[in-house]
Symmetry: C2
Subunit: 187 residues, 2 copies
């Protein structure tokens, strides 16, 4: 909405956009002190800043990508990371034919270089490799000082309790659809 | 666990696996009638069937993919869809150089062929195209009789209220990480 020149937004507009009740919007924001002005709504610029601060994405995070296959390449090409303060600063693969190639301003490195992550200030990794190798890679990433992993491999990976893993299983996202779909016309 | 030869699972094991309280597992299942036996746990095979039925993924769904770029190709190569009863039965692109090519057993068709979806029994679509074209494609899919859309384009798309859209914004999944990450050692 900022891009479209808007300065403020009401809880009603926000509610319509995300599909919840306006009172829930106001209640949720009130937990963090409340950012709105009655009758005016929320200053969008301020609201974005406050939410980024709450989510701890008000600082840049340098990210490593492990696995530059189709999915990894899609991740490298993805335009939306900057909005949330993420920069893909390194990419790794085991395929000698890929190592040394530049893809979207990142030169692909051998996975043995993962050990250098900490001194390069990289604390988050994206795992986009076949499931057989995912746990070993996660172990290597933990040793390399990573604190958070976004796992695209269709498997469960285990890390020490104080680290955070979010697994994105595309098929599982998919599996949420049928429950909400209307019955077929005529069925 | 079935793959590993297990026959039953306790609410405690399930709870550990997903990171919630065992009582929540039992309470949630009880809403659907309760499938477990006290002191024995849940018969895994039966539990999987019951959950599939609740989620309406106990029947096969034929799916169309729109956009065979890096992300679309990753989706075509993704091994996990069959588990949830999805079959990618068609793929579409606008690039004449891609049309007619066979990728993972699917021949890429021109997007003008989307009109044929309904008679081919395809009721779900995956949208993996640049954001500029996403809304137009969604409109075409609605006209073609699709009832559910999984949207990978980093934008909001609007469909008639009775249809269901799930938008997967990789960057937004990412943005969930920092909140949960431990502070840096020494920070």
């Amino acid at each position: 909405m900022l891009d479209q020149g808007h300065k403020s937004i009401s809880s009603g507009q926000l509610a319509d956009f995300v599909g919840v009740n306006p009172s829930l919007i106001r209640k949720d924001f009130s937990y963090f002190g409340g950012f709105g002005t009655r009758g005016v709504g929320y200053d969008i610029d301020d609201l974005v800043k406050q939410i980024k601060k709450i989510l701890k994405i008000n600082v840049m995070h340098r990210v490593a990508l492990v696995g530059v296959g189709n999915l990894g390449s899609a991740v490298l090409a993805y335009p939306g990371f900057g909005v949330y303060g993420f920069e893909i600063a390194a990419a790794f693969d085991i395929n000698p034919q890929k190592i040394g190639r530049r893809v979207h301003n990142v030169v692909i490195e051998d996975v043995s270089e993962l050990v250098s992550l900490k001194k390069r200030g990289i604390d988050i990794a994206i795992v986009a490799i076949p499931r057989d190798a995912a746990q070993q890679t996660a172990d290597d990433l933990v040793k390399a000082g990573v604190r958070g992993i976004l796992n695209f491999s269709p498997c469960h990976i285990t890390v020490p309790r104080k680290l955070k893993v979010i697994t994105i299983d595309i098929a599982m996202d998919f599996a949420r659809l049928p429950y909400y779909m209307p019955r077929q016309a005529g069925a």
